[in-house]
C-alpha cells in the first residue's frame, strides 16, 4: 500500500490557488521584447564599435528606432500588468538595491538615452522633416569617431544589463524552483541575442552583414542548447523541488510545448536550416529567423508559466 500524503486547504485566493498564475501574458511579452531589444542593442553597439557603421546600408541605423518602439511596447505590457497603476511613479522615487525590478526600472531609464544617441547618428528622413535641426546634431556626432565608438560601447553594456536583468528578475525568486537558477540570465541573454540576430537578419540590406548575423545566430542557438543542458543538470542534481521543476519541462505538463516549440521549432530546426544556408546548400529565407523569434517568445511564456507552477509544496510534508 502506498504512503498517503495529502494536503487540503480552505484558501482559494484568485490567481494564486490552486496554483500561482499571477503573472499572465504581459510579463512574458515584456521579457521577450526586453530581451530582444537587449540583443539588438548589443548587435548595433558592436556594429558601431567595430566600424561597420561606415557602410551606408548598415542595419545599425534602423535597429535603434525599432528598439525604442519594441521596448516601449514591452514597457506598456508591463504597465498593463500593474494592479495599482496610478502609483507607477513610485518606482522612480527610490532605488531598492536588493530588488531586481528596481534595478530594471532604472536600467530602462538609461537604455533610452543610449538608443536615442544611436538614432541621432543618422536620423531618418521623416525625423528630419519633423525636426530639421537633427541633421546638425548628426553632423556633430559624425565628426567624432571616438564618440561613435563610445555610443557603441554604451549600447553594448546597457544591452547586456537589460538582457541579464530580465533573467535575474525571475532567478532571484527562491520561492519558484524553476526560476531559481543562476543560469537563467545567461539563457535569457543568449535567447535575446539569438532573437535579435534573427530579427535584424530579416531586414538587413547588407549581404555580408546578413551572412554574419545568420552565423552569429547559429552560434547563439548552440550556446542556448548548451545552457539548457547545464540548467537541467543543475536542477536534476539538486533538491527535490528543483528536480520536480525540471521534470515539469522535461516530462511533465509543459513538456509538449517545451520540446516541440522551444527546442524543436525554436532552436533545432532553424539551426539546421541556417547551417545549410550559411554553407550555401540552400538560400537564406525568412523561415528560420521567424521560427527563432517565435521560439524565443514561447520560451518566455513557458518559463514564466511553468516557473509559477513550480513550488516547494512537497517540502510541506515535514
Amino acid at each position: 500500500m502506498n504512503e498517503l500524503l495529502e494536503l487540503t486547504t480552505t484558501r482559494n485566493n484568485p490567481l494564486i490557488d490552486p496554483y500561482m498564475a499571477m503573472w499572465e501574458w504581459q510579463i512574458p511579452v515584456y521579457l521577450f521584447l526586453g530581451g530582444m531589444v537587449a540583443g539588438m542593442m548589443i548587435i548595433s553597439g558592436y556594429f558601431l564599435f567595430s566600424g561597420r557603421y561606415k557602410e551606408s546600408n548598415c542595419s545599425c541605423f534602423s535597429i535603434p528606432f525599432i528598439s525604442v518602439v519594441l521596448l516601449s511596447l514591452g514597457m506598456f505590457a508591463l504597465f498593463l500588468d500593474l494592479a495599482h497603476k496610478p502609483f507607477v511613479w513610485r518606482l522612480y522615487t527610490t532605488f531598492q538595491i536588493k530588488s531586481p525590478m528596481s534595478w530594471g526600472a532604472w536600467i530602462l531609464i538609461l537604455v533610452y538615452p543610449a538608443l536615442i544617441a544611436n538614432i541621432l547618428m543618422r536620423p531618418t528622413p521623416w525625423m528630419l522633416k519633423i525636426y530639421p535641426k537633427l541633421s546638425e546634431w548628426a553632423g556633430k556626432i559624425n565628426q567624432h569617431p571616438f564618440l561613435i565608438k563610445n555610443i557603441g560601447i554604451a549600447n553594448m553594456i546597457l544591452g547586456m544589463m537589460l538582457g541579464a536583468y530580465t533573467g535575474v528578475l525571475l532567478s532571484s525568486m527562491g520561492s519558484r524552483p524553476l526560476w531559481n537558477t543562476s543560469l537563467l540570465w545567461v539563457l535569457f541573454l543568449v535567447s535575446g541575442l539569438s532573437a535579435a540576430a534573427a530579427f535584424v537578419h530579416l531586414f538587413a540590406k547588407n549581404k555580408a552583414e546578413s551572412e554574419l548575423l545568420a552565423k552569429a545566430d547559429n552560434g547563439f542557438l548552440v550556446i542556448e542548447l548548451f545552457v539548457f543542458v547545464m540548467i537541467f543538470l543543475g536542477f536534476l542534481s539538486s533538491a527535490r523541488p528543483h528536480m520536480e521543476a525540471a521534470q515539469l519541462l522535461l516530462t511533465g505538463a509543459y513538456a509538449p510545448v517545451f520540446w516541440v516549440f522551444v527546442i524543436g521549432l525554436g532552436i533545432i530546426i532553424p539551426l539546421i536550416i541556417q547551417l545549410l544556408a550559411v554553407n550555401h546548400k540552400i538560400r537564406h529565407t525568412s523561415i528560420a529567423p521567424i521560427m527563432v523569434i517565435f521560439g524565443g517568445l514561447i520560451l518566455r511564456f513557458v518559463i514564466v508559466s511553468a516557473g509559477q507552477y513550480s513550488h516547494w509544496f512537497n517540502a510541506h510534508f515535514h
Partner: protein, 179 residues
C-alpha cells in the same frame, strides 16, 4: 525591541475557521480573498495515519524575499516587532512579492495593492491580541514576543515539540506549530 511570532497548537486546532472569519471581519477582507486559512495535512500508511489541522497565514519571516524584491519599498519590516507590512500607497501592484513568497501568503487586493496578514498590528499596538488569536474557541493560538524568554510563546517553544512550514525554503518563518 520585540520580535512578534505566533505559536499554534495543532493538537488543539479543530479547523473551525473562526480565525478566518475573525480576520475577514476585523480587516474588512473582500469576498473571495483570505489572509488566513485552514490546512489539513494527512500522511502515513493505513492504519497508521496522522492528521494535522492548522491555521496558516503570512509567516512574518525573518528572511523576507517579499521585502527584498519590492521595487518601491512598499513591502517593509515594521519598526515594532519585525512584522512584515505593505504600505498601500507605495505599492504599484507589480506582484513580485506575491511571486517571491514560498507560502503564497499574499494576494492582490481588488483595490490593486498587495495584501496579507498584518498580525493585526493596529490591535497589537493598542495592547490587544490579533483578531484570530482573540476569537479562537479552542485557545490553540498564542501570540507574543519570541525574543522574550519569559513570554508564553517562548516557553511553549522551549517545552513542546514544534515545526515550521516549508523550512527548506529558508525564510525563517515566525509561526510555529506545536505537535
Amino acid at each position: 525591541m520585540p520580535r512578534y511570532g505566533m505559536v499554534i497548537d495543532t493538537r488543539k486546532c479543530v479547523g473551525c475557521s473562526d480565525c478566518v472569519i475573525a480576520c475577514k471581519t476585523e480587516n474588512n477582507i473582500p469576498e473571495g480573498y483570505n489572509r488566513d486559512w485552514i490546512v489539513t495535512e494527512s500522511k502515513g500508511k493505513f492504519p497508521d495515519i496522522q492528521m494535522e489541522i492548522r491555521t496558516e497565514r503570512c509567516n512574518h519571516c525573518s528572511e523576507t524575499p517579499c521585502v527584498s524584491c519590492c521595487p518601491t519599498g512598499a513591502s517593509h519590516i515594521h519598526d515594532v516587532g519585525g512584522v512584515v507590512l505593505v504600505e498601500h500607497n507605495k505599492c504599484i501592484g507589480c506582484k513580485a512579492c506575491v511571486e517571491a513568497c514560498p507560502y503564497d501568503a499574499r494576494f492582490i487586493h481588488p483595490d490593486g495593492y498587495a495584501d496579507k496578514c498584518t498580525f493585526c498590528i493596529h490591535r497589537v499596538e493598542k495592547g490587544q491580541k490579533p483578531a484570530c488569536v482573540e476569537v479562537c474557541p479552542t485557545y490553540c493560538m498564542y501570540f507574543g514576543d519570541l525574543d522574550d524568554p519569559n513570554s508564553e510563546v517562548s516557553k511553549l517553544l522551549q517545552s513542546r515539540k514544534w515545526h515550521v512550514t516549508l523550512k527548506d525554503a529558508g525564510t525563517q518563518p515566525n509561526i510555529f506549530y506545536l505537535v
